[in-house]
């Protein structure tokens, strides 16, 4: 190891702390003020940053970050901690400054890429970068304060419920805003801003507080989340473009949630999981009223969903019973092979190599839209004066589906079965020696995960209109797994975030589609290095990934003793 002489040492920080604060404030103010200057030469870049005195939305976000740095530093100097509750002001300021620097850097790079060269960045952009850099340097000189203990704070219940509503509303607004950004660079910049903002919330301790609030008002939170999700199509002004993405995201998330049972809860690495989604989709296609469907019976959709789930679950049992005798890497290889076997079998069921069930690689096209209780999913409907198109219809159905999937996931996790899974993950031998049915529970994890994927596949078949074997390649399995790893193993929110990122980013970032895989690979490597437990992990998973980190363990232990439970499903 090469030892790099440390520029910032505790002693130096001790001396430089007061000055650092002023420097950081100055940097923040410069950054905020730069929002009123023109940043780009042409209005074609990002969201048009050419005007003097009239900031664009992205420039306003720069202003917010600048004020955030300055404000947090001021708070750290002025506000003394009350009792046991500490706010991580300096931590927040450091995160804000780092985030601001990254944000401005991304904006400047985007301008350069979109307009062809750094020459197109006008003086305002450089002022912003300078401000962010000064703020960054200033916060580096400051002494880190102790970790925040805001998680222990409580407000009056009415205020907390109000807070939940406000946060949910903000989330809806941010999502709608992000989805309506057409420019790739602007989208990336906005994501960077969100990342910085969330990082600040984490470091200040507000996230801990919010998670405490969400623990205390779980039902309100869940209700609010579904109300927000339900309202989403109404923010789209009749456009179906984003709704198409949203439905893709939900199907992907539902499948990932099923996989999360296998991977996140039972700790079994499954690389062929997409086959279960495929089995569900093909089952629904074969039983549909498509002219190419190969079955003569066409049961109602509710029955089809159950059959699709049962077929997938059976497949899970068939695959599971021999393969679950191996573990770890071996299991990953065997399941990977199974995924390929499924795809090739579907290709071979074409009437030549085998019986004609799937029409081989052509698959089953022209699957008609669903009609449930007289409601035609293929036709637009007008509700409250807003037109809801085909994808909006499916979106509502998928909301019900994902609600069901989440319910199954959470309830299984918080039960005797969930405890058994944790025990198996912790120490399989000890679990077996304590009477836990290790093999049975593993098999059940496989089958229940497969069942959920199967029902998601049934809806997918109708929404996608056609089902072909090449939709179920290994890469899709890898993406599902990536969603879990990225988002956080074993949590609902983590998987939702991971699935959203992995489905949404490729849609919005078409200009880098050639490098898509490379970027994901890079992202995953970085995650493995810096946050192996994922963005929003369950506390237990966090502990498992940081066996050595006693500080973290102590903190979680303290929280557990207060609340009496580990945040398992992490809603």
């Amino acid at each position: 190891m090469i030892t790099v002489p440390r520029l910032v040492t505790p002693e130096r920080q001790q001396r430089s702390d007061p000055a650092g604060g002023w420097v950081a404030i100055a940097g923040g103010v410069i950054l905020a003020a730069s929002a009123f200057l023109p940043w780009a030469y042409s209005f074609k870049a990002l969201d048009g940053m050419t005007l003097l005195g009239f900031p664009s939305p992205l420039q306003y976000l720069g202003l917010v970050l600048g004020l955030l740095v300055a404000g947090l530093v001021v708070c750290s100097r002025r506000i003394k901690p009350k009792g046991k509750i500490r706010v991580g002001w300096v931590r927040g300021a450091k995160a804000a400054a780092t985030g601001a620097l990254v944000y401005i850097a991304i904006i400047i790079l985007s301008i350069a890429v979109e307009l062809g060269g750094l020459i197109n960045v006008v003086y305002g952009g450089w002022v912003a970068l300078l401000g962010a850099a000064i703020a960054f340097a200033g916060t580096r000189l400051m002494i880190m304060d102790k970790p925040a203990t805001l998680a222990q704070a409580q407000l009056r219940p009415t205020l907390e419920i109000l807070l939940v509503a406000v946060v949910m509303g903000a989330a809806l607004f941010a999502t709608a805003f992000a989805l309506n950004i057409d420019d790739g660079g602007a989208f990336v910049s906005f994501i960077a801003f969100l990342g910085a903002f969330v990082a600040v919330l984490f470091r200040v301790g507000a996230m801990g507080f919010l998670s405490g609030v969400s623990q205390r008002h779980r039902k309100v939170l869940i209700l609010a989340a579904f109300v927000v999700a339900f309202l989403f199509p109404f923010t789209q002004g009749g456009s179906d473009a984003n709704m198409s993405i949203a439905t893709q995201v939900i199907i992907f998330a539902a499948a990932a949630m099923g996989l999360n049972i296998t991977v996140g809860l039972a700790g079994l690495l499954d690389l062929g999981y997409i086959a279960f989604l495929g089995a569900g989709a093909f089952t629904a296609a074969v039983l549909s009223r498509s002219a190419f469907a190969t079955a003569d019976i066409h049961p109602p959709f509710i029955v089809v969903v159950l059959i699709a789930g049962a077929v997938s679950a059976t497949l899970g049992l068939i695959i599971g019973s021999p393969t679950l005798r191996v573990s770890g890497d071996y299991l990953a290889i065997v399941t990977l092979a199974f995924g390929e076997i499924f795809r090739i079998t579907m290709i071979n069921l074409d009437g030549e190599a085998g019986p004609n069930i799937t029409h081989g690689s052509n698959g089953i096209p022209a699957i008609p839209d669903l009609t449930l209780f007289g409601f035609d999913f293929g036709r637009p409907h007008i509700v409250l004066g807003i037109q809801l198109g085909r994808f909006s219809n499916y979106y509502f159905l998928l909301l019900v589906l994902i609600a069901f999937v989440i319910l199954v996931f959470v309830r299984l996790n918080n039960s005797r079965i969930g405890r058994g899974w944790v025990a198996i993950r912790e120490d399989e031998k000890a679990a077996e020696a304590m009477g836990v049915n290790v093999f049975g529970l593993k098999l059940f994890a496989f089958a229940s995960g497969a069942f959920l994927a199967g029902i998601a596949g049934a809806v997918k078949a109708h929404q996608d209109i056609s089902v072909t074997p090449d939709q179920f390649i290994f890469l899709e399995s890898a993406f599902l797994l990536a969603a879990i790893v990225l988002g956080g193993m074993g949590t609902v929110l983590g998987v939702l975030v991971g699935a959203t990122l992995l489905k949404l980013l490729p849609e919005k970032l078409r200009f880098v589609s050639d490098y898509r895989l490379m970027i994901f690979a890079l992202l995953l490597i970085l995650m493995m290095r810096f946050r192996p437990e994922g963005l929003i992990p369950s506390q237990r998973r966090q502990l498992e990934f940081h066996e050595e980190d006693e500080e973290l363990a102590e903190r979680i232990d303290e929280e557990v003793e207060q609340t009496g439970a580990l945040k398992g499903a992490g809603l």
């Binding site: 079965i417 912790e426 031998k429 000890a430 020696a433 304590m434 049915n437 979680i556 232990d557």
Partner: protein, 285 residues
């Protein structure tokens, strides 16, 4: 009753009150005989000690009893029925164990650890768990109540919500016992329950084992601490190089010259070799 069983094939007479009878148990790893036709008989409500120098095959013998290993030959009869060589079925039959190197679920709280022990005595299925009917809440409540009761029993009531990995060493051993007790055993097998404990903790462990016996359970203890074992046990079996050397009351075993000789005169190479085999066996099993 004194039965020296260093002659293979001679087993203790069955007088009906035996809860565990192991007959002629032999375990071979390749060419090495780790346990050589050992007989063991544990009566109801009795504390049985298992001693022997390092590498004598005590833990291997334990693993044969609890189904972690399938003995090369011999059979284990528990409560009148031959035990299947599956750890889970052994537990269900009513025999629970602790481990020499503590194997708690480190990232679960103490009470969750004990609740896992209740797994095999409850039957809350997936459908009940998802639908959350009255049975679910009844079962969960009963499981939690029993777990807290057992934690109080072993003296860990105040640390129920601490992560297992944060418990003091002695408390971890006690938690392992509570977890084993949660499976409603008739016989408890303790593998070196006082290893690494200070004298005070050892005394507490002794009291706890007596308390468990008073609940009507039979206990088999592996130990190195001679004073501990001779205080505690009703009978003691001494294993040397995989063979039963002598079985009898603590007084008889203590005064037997062969026991003393065995403890001083074991070849270090054999012991090391056997330990290595045991470790490998444990990893493979």
């Amino acid at each position: 009753m004194t039965t020296t069983v260093d002659v293979p094939g001679v087993s203790a007479p069955d007088d009906g009150s035996a809860i565990l009878v192991a007959e002629d148990v032999t375990m071979r790893f390749g060419g090495l005989v780790a346990v050589d036709s050992v007989d063991l008989r544990v009566n109801e409500g009795e504390i049985m000690g298992l001693i022997g120098p390092n590498g004598a095959g005590k833990t291997t013998f334990f693993n044969c009893l609890t189904g972690l290993y399938l003995p090369t030959s011999g059979r284990v009869v528990f409560n009148g029925a031959v035990l299947p060589p599956k750890p889970r079925k052994v537990v269900i039959a009513g025999m629970a164990r602790t481990f020499q190197n503590i194997r708690l679920f480190a990232n679960m709280t103490a009470v969750e650890n004990v609740m896992v022990g209740r797994y095999c005595r409850t039957n809350t299925g997936p459908l009940t768990s998802i639908l959350r009917g009255p049975k679910f809440h009844r079962d969960e409540k009963a499981t939690a109540a029993r777990a807290h009761e057992l934690l109080d029993f072993v003296g860990l009531g105040s640390t129920a919500d601490s992560l297992a990995r944060h418990l003091a060493y002695g408390d971890q051993r006690r938690l392992e016992i509570a977890r084993a007790l949660a499976t409603n055993p008739k016989l408890l097998l303790l593998d070196e329950p006082t290893a690494g404990m200070n004298p005070q903790e050892t005394r507490q462990a002794e009291e706890l084992i007596f308390k468990i016996r008073d609940e009507g359970l039979a206990v088999v203890v592996i130990e190195h601490d001679m004073r501990f074992i001779f205080n505690l046990c009703d009978r003691v079996l001494c294993l040397v190089q995989g063979r039963a050397l002598i079985e009898g009351t603590p007084g008889e075993v203590q005064s037997d010259p062969r026991v003393i000789e065995a403890y001083i005169g074991t070849g270090p190479e054999d012991a090391a070799e056997l330990e290595q085999f045991e470790e490998e066996g444990q990893d493979n099993a």
